[in-house]
C-alpha cells in the first residue's frame, strides 16, 4: 500500500523488520506438516510408481514404465479410467445443467433461499452414509423392493436392477448429481446475486426470455465463477471412491471391476483385502489420477479464460 506507510515513517520500518521475524515461527509448523504429510508422500508415490513392490516384507524394485504399460493393458484400469472420466464429464455436465436451470428459475423466485439451503444439505453428509442410504433405496429384491423399485412397481413399471455392475455407474452418476447440485447451485447463485438487478430489468424491457437472460446476462457475468466451480468439480470427481465402493460392491471388499474408478483401483491394489498388494501398480494409478486432474484443470482454465469483468 503505497502512501499509507508514510505516516509511521521510520517507526513502521523497524516494526516491519520485527514482523518479518515472526514469519518463520508462524509459517513453519504448518508448512512442515504439509511437506512431510503431503508433498513428500506425493513425490514418493511418483517414485514408487516406477517400481514393483508388494508391500511390507518385499523390497521395491525399479521397473521403469512397466507399471504404466501394464495399466494400459489392464481391463480393471481401463474401466477405472473411463468410469472416472465419465463421472467427471457426465456428472459435471449434469450437475452444471441442473445448476443453470436452478439459477434461471431461482433468481426471482420466492423461497429461493430456503430451497438452496435444503438442496445444499447432502453436501455435508458422509459419502459412505449417502452410499448406504442409496443402496437400501435402490435395492432390487422381488417382493421386498427398495424405495425406488417400490415406486416403479406401484405405478405399474418393471423394477430395475439399479446396482448391477452394468447399471451402477449411471446410478452413481445420478446420485452424485443429486448430492452435489446444491453446492454448485449455491456457488452460482451467489454469483448471480452479485449481478445488479437493473441489468435484468433492462433485459425485461428488451423482452428477453428466461433463456435469453441466462444466455446474454447470467452466463457471461458468472463465467469466472463457473470456471472455478468447474475446477472444484473436477478435483472432487477424480477422487470419487466411497459412493462407488458402497453402492456397487458387497461392502467390505471391492465391487466388480466394471464399476471401478481410479480411486477404487488404487485402494484395491493396495489396501483391498483380496490377494497380495501391488503397491507399485497402485502408485502408478495414483499418478494417473494426479495427471488427470492437472490436465483437466489446465484445460478448463484455458477454455474458460477471458477478460475479467468490472461492474
Amino acid at each position: 500500500m503505497p502512501g499509507s506507510t508514510d505516516v509511521g515513517g521510520r517507526a513502521s520500518g523497524a516494526h516491519l523488520v520485527r514482523k518479518k521475524r515472526l514469519f518463520f515461527p508462524f509459517f513453519l509448523p504448518a508448512v512442515t506438516l504439509y511437506v512431510v504429510f503431503l508433498v513428500v508422500p506425493t513425490l514418493a508415490t511418483v517414485a514408487l510408481g516406477f517400481t514393483s513392490w508388494a508391500g511390507a516384507g518385499d523390497t521395491p524394485e525399479f521397473t521403469g514404465f512397466a507399471n504404466y504399460v501394464e495399466l494400459l493393458s489392464s481391463d480393471a484400469f481401463r474401466y477405472s479410467f473411463l468410469n472416472t472420466l465419465l463421472y467427471i464429464v457426465a456428472g459435471g455436465v449434469g450437475t452444471f445443467l441442473l445448476a443453470f436451470l436452478f439459477t434461471m428459475v431461482l433468481r426471482d423466485m420466492r423461497g429461493g433461499k430456503l430451497i438452496r439451503a435444503i438442496l445444499f444439505f447432502p453436501n455435508i453428509v458422509a459419502p459412505v452414509a449417502l452410499g448406504m442410504f442409496f443402496s437400501i433405496v435402490l435395492i432390487y429384491r422381488p417382493n421386498r423392493q427398495g424405495l425406488a423399485n417400490h415406486l416403479l412397481e406401484s405405478v405399474g413399471l418393471d423394477a430395475v436392477k439399479f446396482l448391477q455392475a452394468e447399471n451402477v455407474t449411471w446410478v452413481v452418476t445420478g446420485c452424485l448429481i443429486w448430492a452435489s447440485s446444491g453446492f454448485y447451485i449455491t456457488i452460482l447463485m451467489a454469483a448471480v446475486d452479485r449481478i445488479p438487478p437493473y441489468l435484468y430489468e433492462d433485459a425485461d424491457i428488451a423482452g428477453a426470455t428466461p433463456w435469453q437472460k441466462f444466455r446474454h446476462v447470467t452466463l457471461p457475468l458468472t463465467w469466472d465463477v463457473i470456471g472455478v466451480a468447474g475446477v472444484l468439480w473436477t478435483i472432487g470427481a477424480v477422487k470419487i471412491f466411497e459412493l462407488v465402493f458402497v453402492l456397487a460392491g458387497p461392502g467390505t471388499y471391492s465391487p466388480p471391476i466394471r464399476a471401478w474408478t481410479l480411486g477404487v483401483y488404487v485402494f484395491d491394489r493396495s489396501f483391498g483385502t483380496q490377494g497380495t498388494p501391488e503397491y507399485g501398480m497402485a502408485c502408478a494409478a495414483a499418478v494417473v489420477m494426479i495427471l488427470l486432474v492437472s490436465v483437466l484443470v489446465v484445460l478448463l482454465r484455458r477454455l474458460m479464460r477471458r477478460d475479467t469483468i468490472q461492474f
Binding site: 445488479p196 437493473y198 441489468l199 430489468e201 433492462d202 433485459a203 425485461d204 424491457i205 428488451a206 423482452g207 428477453a208 435469453q212 446474454h216 446476462v217 457471461p220 457475468l221 477478460d307 469483468i309 468490472q310 461492474f311
Partner: protein, 366 residues
C-alpha cells in the same frame, strides 16, 4: 409517438402501509418533455417504473396513446428506459450494448448494425463502438445508455436521473444535449430528477411530487410564477422563496410592520387568520432605510452577477407560533455596495406577492 396518461395510478411496496405513489393523475402530451421532480424518496422512480412495467400498479391505470398498458409486460409497452447507473452490460462492447434490444427482438444483423451506427453517429460514439463500458468515461457511458434507448425508436422515453452520476460541468452540457435530442426526435419523454434546475431548464412541463402525491404540474414559468402550494413555492427557485408566516388582520397581513393588502377572494378563501406571505428574493425592491420594511443586513453573498442579502426586519412581525422569523433573502445587482450591518428598506414589487393559507398550504386566489 403517443401520449401518456396516469389515471389514479397507485403503488404500494410490501411492508409499507403508505403508498409510494398515491393516486397519480397526469396526462403527458404527444412529444412532450415532462420532468418529474421532488425530494428523495417522493416516488419519482416508482412512477417511472410503473410506466415502464417494472413495478405493478396496485390501483388505477396507465395508458400509452389509447392503449391501456397497466397489465402489459415491459416489452409490449414500446418504451425505452435510461437507468440512473446506465445499466450497461459490462461484457458487451458499446455496439453490442446499443444493439442489445434489437438483437433480442431478432432484428436482422445488417439492419441492426445500420441502426447502431446511426445512433452512434447521433451521439458521437463512433470511435468507441468496440470498447467495453469499463473503458469509457462517465459521459460516454451516459451516451451509450441514451443510444440504447434511441435505437429502439420507442413511443416513450423513460429517464431516471440520467445525469446524476456526472460532474457538474458535464451535467450542464449533457442537459442541453438531451433536451435538443429529444426535441429533434420528438419522442414523448418522462424525465426524473431531483434537481430543480434541471427540471426548470429541460422540461416542457414539470410535475412536482411529494410523498407520492402530485403537488402541481405546469410549465416552468407557471410553476415558478404561480406555485400551487407552500411545498412547490419552497421547492422551486434558488435561493428559495421567502415564506413569511404571519397573521391576517382585516384587509391586510402584517410583514415586519408593513401591511400586505389581501384581496376579497383571498380573504374569503382563508380558513383561519394564519397566512403565509411568499416573496422571492428577486421580488423585493430595496429602498433607503425608513421606507417599507426596515431591515438590517446580516450577511451578504456576492456571486458576481448577483448579490444576495440576508436581512432581519427591525420590527419583527409576529409569527403565529411565536418562533423567531427566518432571515429574508433579497436579491440585489452584483457588486452592489451593501455591507453587513447596513440598514435598508424593503418593499415587494408589484405582482411578486404569493399568498398561502398556512393551515392547508394552498395558494390563495389573487
Amino acid at each position: 409517438m403517443a401520449t401518456v396518461t396516469f389515471d389514479g395510478a397507485t403503488r404500494y411496496y410490501a411492508g409499507s402501509p403508505v403508498p409510494a405513489v398515491d393516486g397519480l393523475d397526469l396526462a403527458v402530451a404527444d412529444g412532450e418533455f415532462l420532468v418529474l421532480v421532488g425530494p428523495s424518496g417522493c416516488g419519482k422512480s416508482t412512477t417511472l417504473r410503473m410506466l415502464a412495467g417494472l413495478e405493478g400498479v396496485d390501483d388505477g391505470a396507465i395508458r400509452i396513446g389509447e392503449r391501456d398498458v397497466t397489465d402489459l409486460p415491459p416489452k409490449d409497452r414500446d418504451i425505452a428506459m435510461v437507468f440512473q447507473n446506465y445499466a450497461l452490460y459490462p461484457h458487451m462492447t458499446v455496439a453490442d450494448n446499443i444493439g442489445f434490444h434489437l438483437k433480442i427482438a431478432k432484428m436482422p444483423k445488417a439492419e441492426r448494425a445500420a441502426r447502431v451506427r446511426e445512433a452512434a453517429a447521433l451521439l458521437d460514439l463512433e470511435p468507441y463502438l468496440d470498447r467495453k463500458p469499463a473503458k469509457l468515461s462517465g459521459g460516454q457511458r451516459q451516451r451509450v445508455a441514451m443510444g440504447r434507448a434511441i435505437v429502439r425508436r420507442p413511443q416513450v422515453f423513460c429517464m431516471d436521473e440520467p445525469l446524476s452520476n456526472l460532474d457538474a460541468k458535464l451535467r450542464v452540457q449533457t442537459r442541453a444535449q438531451i433536451a435538443s435530442l429529444q426535441r429533434r426526435l420528438g419522442v414523448t419523454t418522462i424525465y426524473v430528477t431531483h434537481d430543480q434546475v434541471e427540471a426548470m431548464t429541460m422540461g416542457d412541463r414539470v410535475a412536482v411530487l411529494k410523498d407520492g402525491v402530485l403537488q402541481q404540474c405546469d410549465t416552468p414559468i407557471g410553476l415558478f410564477g404561480r406555485p400551487a402550494n407552500l411545498f412547490v413555492a419552497g421547492f422551486i427557485g434558488s435561493p428559495a422563496m421567502n415564506l413569511i408566516p404571519t397573521r391576517a388582520s382585516g384587509e391586510s397581513a402584517d410583514v415586519g410592520g408593513t401591511p400586505i393588502p389581501l384581496s376579497p377572494a383571498a380573504r374569503a378563501a382563508l380558513t383561519s387568520e394564519n397566512i403565509v406571505v411568499g416573496i422571492r428574493p428577486e421580488g423585493w425592491r430595496t429602498l433607503p432605510a425608513g421606507d417599507g420594511v426596515t431591515a438590517t443586513i446580516e450577511a451578504v453573498e456576492e456571486l458576481g452577477s448577483d448579490q444576495y442579502l440576508y436581512c432581519s426586519a427591525d420590527t419583527p412581525h409576529l409569527t403565529p407560533d411565536g418562533t423567531a422569523p427566518q432571515p429574508i433573502a433579497v436579491r440585489a445587482p452584483g457588486m452592489s455596495p451593501w455591507r453587513r450591518g447596513d440598514k435598508l428598506g424593503l418593499a415587494p414589487q408589484p405582482g411578486a406577492v404569493h399568498l398561502f393559507d398556512a393551515e392547508t398550504g394552498a395558494r390563495l386566489p389573487d
